[in-house]
Amino acid sequence: MANDVRPPFWLLAELTYRCPLHCVFCSNPIDYARHGEEVDTATWKRVLGEARALGAVQLGFSGGEPLLRDDLEELVAHAHRLGFYTNLITSGIGLTVARARALKRSGLDHVQLSFQDSTRELNDFITSTRTFDLKSRVAAVIKDAGYPMVLNCVMHRFNLPHVGRIIEMAQRMGADYLELANTQYYGWAWHNRAALMPTALELRDAEALVTAHRERLRAGGSPMKIFWVSPDYADARPKPCMSGWGAVFLVVAPDGVALPCHSARMLPGLAFPNLRETSVRAAWYDSDAFNRYRGTAWMNDTCGNCGDRDKDHAGCRCQAFLVAGDAAATDPVCPKSPHRDRIDAMLQAAGAPRDDVAPLRFVPGAATAGALVFRGEAASLALSAAPLVCDPDPTSS
């Protein structure tokens, strides 16, 4: 198996799960509060060195909020010396002028700043923090320090109607790229899926507006590029998740566990290696967990005999587990999946009249708002008291 495995190209270093924000769509695991201690500086440096030696080029410092680690500058400097292209993926909270400059001196190449909406009301509600104005100031700090800037905005039914204004905001802030990332239903977003899911019509309208704005930007000579991350369920095609399991992407969780994606840790029956004890090389090439869904030998007949198997790699293992209850099943988004009806039921439910979370108002310290649960330590502990089981009726929450 290891013979035709290529080295990891992307290393995502999740430095911490601590975060000042409480986003309802957070991709961190629901049970993050139960995970072990954070990896120390020396171990991170070793991991970065080993990954780089294998051939990793792109490095994302992420979390949680990576700025909460006070060794971030040291790790960036180390990564820069190793020859990584370094990306900071941040909420912006804690990115002062002094820190932006210190990180620049350390060799940081790029900053991806998350934004939740073009309005203060919704940004503050969805993160359950008062951070809209702060983020706006941080965008200027990033540009003033001379970084390329990507604005990332996770899209869901509450902010999709604002997509035009979000694009205009990104342009005003001087973003080089705007990533409109339709919610992917894992972690907290999976828990909150019923409340977050837009209708097919809302998605179509938003995408049409994106296309129109792209035209406008091109005609006006604006260098800003817009990425529209396809919505997972509404698209009738499984995504080539992570470009394949263990193919290019390596995530290292705050406690040192090596993963093929942000959410694979919840899959049962897989023992993911911890890089405190295992080398990156051994984890990537030799561990059973990374080899489990590589190639095509593991596929069922539906996927193994499908003409698209080398394009979509049978889709997403986590989606298969969450919706169909089996990580080796055909991605339920695929029309060939016997579980596609469960996806359709969820989409249909999004079109039905909903008990709204009105008013969308930031309430300091709120744990929930209507059906939405905010990401936080207490909620993490409460929700993970029982092990995650597949939901036989995924339309309910």
Partner: protein, 90 residues
């Protein structure tokens, strides 16, 4: 059009470097990478904002003992500028 006296420079959004594992020059940008073929790499490496297009052509012709490269180099630079790899609007 790129003129003979222009001094092209790789745009600040991009970083050019050699990757030993891939045995290739690559152009890195936020969350992405372009792997360059040898001619593209040899041209871009010389786009330092100091050398003129003429000087780049001359250097390449000497280095590779090959004359008549001017059109190829210019065509590539036009393409590179169109993709945003070079400083200045496409």
């Amino acid at each position: 059009m790129i003129g003979a006296h222009d001094t092209p420079q790789v745009a600040p959004l991009f970083r050019l470097q050699f990757e030993p594992v891939q045995a290739a020059w690559v152009l890195l940008y936020p969350e992405g990478m372009v792997k360059l073929n040898t001619p593209a790499a040899e041209i871009l490496r010389r786009c330092d904002g100091q050398r003129s297009v003429d000087a780049i052509v001359e250097e390449l012709e000497t280095a590779f003992s090959h004359c008549g490269l001017a059109d190829d180099v210019r065509a590539f630079l036009e393409q590179a500028r169109g993709r945003g790899w070079l400083r200045g609007a496409p």
